[in-house]
């Protein structure tokens, strides 16, 4: 049965040079495999190239809703049976949705890999979508949203940042969806979404752990080989226009001090500058000796915390700076100091030792993601699904190692400019007599 597969790519990844392979079944299903016999367990992940970017305005939250529905009834499994079968083995199941992908994760004892493959193949093609389970999960998702957004200031900041920073691109709506959209998602549209996106030619299985590769190929082919591929919609060509002016939003929240989330427009993860910006983020706030941490938190004591993150999205996204102001200090004073630091970094390139420091930390991070079978599977699944090739997990590491002082200065000057920035500020209630205050925006 292994002859129904085509070997497309292979690479040696990791310290021991373990062989990672990508095979493809004739119906388009991808399979990435890595044998790791360090423990009698296996990570089985199913990555779909569908995330919130594939939704339509008015129907946001659809991709995330499936993260819930996919654990429900199928033609062969009564309600709750999926979880019971997995838990009886000692395994665990979970799922995650983001802008570019949705993935389903099973962690199983190695002997139960056949069960996992059977369950995943079943729910890819035979999910039962009826009113009662959909309504039940809709209530759960609305409560999830309340917990993570409505009652969580960091969730609110995150949602507002994307909504203000993006005017055209689907990254502008939250992955969990707007509350009014979640409540309005209609059953026919839910069924249509399932038929459209949950197809073998839109999926990659990633299997890492204790198994024999030939047996895995036979097993997957036997369960997936009969699933018919589906025509997939053309990828969105929406391009976010260049941002010409800073955008700012403020709102009162029941918090103790100001919170700031600022996002600077940066290229997507596959761009050559992405690795440089990863180094920039580390230099700014990615370690105890980082510039903003030292300046804002330790020396000036205007902030109690500062963090920098580069979102690993396929299309251009944001380098985000999150700051909690210290008692007695305002978001505006913190932003002024950030601007000073960025201007200094743009005008005076960092020393080589400072860049080498960030590269050493990046090396530690690279290895840290490859410590266990779940982490390896997640890394391969993300790069394969978001960027089209699992081998980019090492390509990005190589780019990080090649970053120069000049690269850093150039990218700070090019990307970390106030006009490319969107700022969301949460202020303690009572500090301002205004409700939500949105600054006038530039024309799109």
């Amino acid at each position: 049965m292994t002859s129904s597969w085509t070997l497309e790519a292979e690479a040696r990844i990791g310290r021991g040079g373990a062989l990672v392979r990508r095979h493809r079944l004739s119906n388009g299903l991808g399979l990435i495999s890595l044998v790791d016999r360090s423990s009698p367990i296996v990570a089985l992940q199913t990555w779909f190239r569908v995330g919130s970017r594939h939704e339509k305005p008015g129907a946001t939250g659809m991709a995330h809703l499936f993260e819930h529905l996919m654990f429900g009834q199928t033609e062969a499994l009564p309600p709750g049976e999926f979880d019971r079968l997995v838990e009886r083995t000692g395994g665990e199941s979970n799922a995650a949705t983001w802008v570019d992908w949705t993935y389903y994760r099973l962690s199983l004892p190695a002997r139960d890999l056949p069960l996992g493959v059977r369950l995943e193949a079943e729910r890819m093609q035979h999910l039962v979508l009826e009113t009662e389970p959909v309504e039940s999960e809709r209530d759960v998702v609305t409560n999830e949203r309340r917990e993570r957004v409505e009652d969580d200031v960091d969730g609110w900041l995150d949602e507002q940042l994307m909504a203000q920073a993006f005017t055209v691109h689907p990254y502008r709506w939250p992955t969990i969806g707007w509350m009014e959209d979640i409540r309005a998602l209609a059953l026919p549209d839910i069924r249509s979404f399932y038929r459209q996106w949950y197809a073998p030619n839109n999926a990659t299985l990633v299997v890492v752990g204790d198994f024999e590769e030939g047996s895995l190929l036979d097993l997957v082919a036997s369960h997936y080989g009969g699933i018919v591929q589906q025509p997939l919609p053309a990828p969105s060509e929406l391009v976010e226009p260049e941002q010409a002016r800073e955008r700012t939003v403020r709102a009162p929240k029941p918090i103790a001090t100001d919170r700031v989330l600022a996002g600077y427009k940066v290229p997507g993860q596959d761009h050559a500058d992405w690795a440089v910006l990863e180094i920039v983020a580390t230099l700014l706030a990615g370690c105890p000796s980082a510039r903003l941490h030292r300046h804002l938190v330790i020396e000036r004591e205007v902030a109690s915390s500062v963090d920098a993150q580069l979102t690993p999205f396929r299309d251009p996204s944001l380098l985000r700076l999150a700051v909690t102001a210290a008692r007695g200090h305002s978001a505006d004073s913190v932003l002024a100091l950030i601007d000073e630091q960025l201007a200094q970094m743009a005008a005076h390139p960092p020393q080589r030792a400072e860049v080498e420091k960030a590269k050493a930390l990046a090396e530690t991070d690279f290895w840290s993601q490859l410590v266990d079978v779940d982490g390896k599977a997640e890394a391969f699944g993300h790069y394969e699904t978001a960027l089209g090739d699992f081998r980019k997990v090492t390509a990005i590491a190589e780019r990080l190692a090649a970053v120069t002082v000049e690269d850093v200065a150039r990218c700070v000057r090019a990307y970390l400019r106030p006009e490319r920035r969107t700022v969301v500020i949460a202020e303690p209630e009572g500090d301002s007599d205004e409700d939500e205050d949105e600054d006038e925006d530039d024309a799109a």
Partner: protein, 430 residues
């Protein structure tokens, strides 16, 4: 003198080495009124040691691609590190500096005293963390685990630098340490690591003050209690319901772990099915027995919509009462046992996990391999054993409920939930 406990778990999969150096005796030993002392002391030790001030120490560690973090639990203070194996020797010396020669500078002491109340602010801003903080405080008044490890504005003000230095000198002695190493390290390197740490720290015996006896613990207080932590503009109620429970490692541990799994330790558990799956009242619902050196809490958690918070508490208390009275069915016990035995390989899959479990067992003063060996105990426990343990250890009559929510909206329904008379407190008063 007894040597420190040393655990080594080798794996050459990556060029990384993790280490955990646990100093037994944690925040539960903070003097009454000086809560936060252990955390403050340990954090301060990391802010400059040996020949390096804070900035130089941070810079050196970062340049090696390494991390050196401080952790403070109720039972221990830990100095944990991550290093590329080619830099391990350099990182060992830095860790030894922190343990043996912290500077405890006046400037950093004052700065940390200004910073910590802002960590309190962040907890007050986070409903889940706030619910846990209040639950810890009110669950078992007088219990050392009920006192905050972070401290309060009042207790922090009482911490002096002399207290800090005395605490570190007393606690950081070889016999009081548990040292764990995992990753790209062989026995010779591990021995070198341990020797280089031990040659720097005091060789004294384990201090009597590092041992907290169960004789000091209060018993569970009969009668339900409800604390409503009032916070404006909430759409949900972050809920914690529970009571003081048994010590991890007591004979009932295996049976009660199965009982915990049936009630709220799996997706298939009763709480998740009744609260989330059947009613959609909360994104999640479950329970846990807190694992510690002394008897700790049994705790149920969920975040219910504010409109259903009252019914959710009422149903949970009914479920708890029924469970304590009747226990799990034979089928439920079989299922949970299968889950717990089958899940153990995931908890010991990596060298780092195995090392951390072993260090934790040692801090809890359990026999070596206790947690990793629990599957054998699970296989020997009968359904009757589980029902008996649940009946003895679950106390619906003594359930304490904490709800972080908007009082004006949630109070009427919560007062009808049978959780006791509500005591309303401001979200920022503790």
């Amino acid at each position: 003198m007894k040597p420190p406990i040393v655990v080594v778990e080798a794996s050459q999969d990556t060029p990384l080495v993790w280490f955990d150096i646990a100093i037994r005796g944690g925040a539960a030993l903070d003097p009454v009124g000086t809560e936060g002392l252990h955390r403050h002391t340990a954090m301060l030790a990391r802010r400059g040691a040996g020949s390096r001030d804070r900035a130089a120490l941070d810079e050196t560690l970062d340049s090696l691609g390494a991390a050196l973090d401080i952790g403070v639990s109720r039972d221990s203070v830990s100095v944990s590190g991550l290093a590329l194996s080619r830099h391990l020797d350099a990182v060992i010396d830095l860790a030894a500096d922190v343990l043996a020669a912290p500077r405890f500078s006046e400037d950093e002491h004052e700065r940390l005293l200004r910073e910590t109340p802002q960590v309190l602010d962040e907890i007050r801003d986070d409903d889940s963390a706030l619910a846990t903080r209040w639950f810890d405080w009110v669950c078992a008044p007088g219990h050392p685990y009920g006192r905050t490890s972070l401290g309060t504005e009042g207790s922090l003000a009482k911490i002096g630098l002399a207290d800090v230095k005395a605490l570190w000198q007393r606690q950081v002695v070889a016999e009081n340490m548990v040292i764990g190493l995992a990753g790209d390290i062989d026995d010779a390197s591990a021995q070198r690591f341990v020797s280089r740490v031990l040659e720097r720290v005091t060789a004294g015996p384990r201090p009597a003050s590092a041992v907290l006896g169960p004789a000091l613990l209060p018993g569970a207080t009969p009668g339900r209690k409800l604390v409503l932590v009032d916070k404006p503009d909430r759409t949900q109620a972050q809920l914690r319901i529970g009571h003081q429970s048994i010590r991890y490692g007591e004979p009932d541990t295996a049976a009660l772990a199965i009982g915990e799994a049936v009630l709220g330790g799996m997706f298939s558990s009763r709480l998740m099915q009744e609260i989330r799956v059947k009613r959609g009242w909360s994104y999640g619902a479950g329970c846990s027995l807190r694992r510690s050196r002394l008897p700790h809490w049994f705790e149920i958690w969920m975040a219910a919509g504010i409109d259903v918070a009252g019914p959710a508490v009422a149903l949970t208390l009914e479920l708890l009462a029924d469970y304590a009275a009747n226990g799990p069915t034979d089928d439920e016990v079989d299922f949970a046992r299968s889950y717990l035995i089958g899940s153990m390989p995931f908890h010991v899959a990596t060298a780092r996990q195995r090392m951390q479990l072993a260090v934790r067992d040692a801090v809890f003063e359990l026999p070596a391999g206790y947690t990793a060996g629990l599957p054998d105990a699970f296989s020997q426990v009968s359904a009757a054993d589980v029902r008996s343990a649940v009946s003895r250890c679950m106390r619906p009559d003594a359930a304490v409920t904490v709800a972080v929510t908007t009082a004006a909206e949630a109070l009427p329904a919560l007062t009808k939930a049978g959780a006791g008379t509500a005591r309303i407190v401001r979200h920022d008063e503790y």
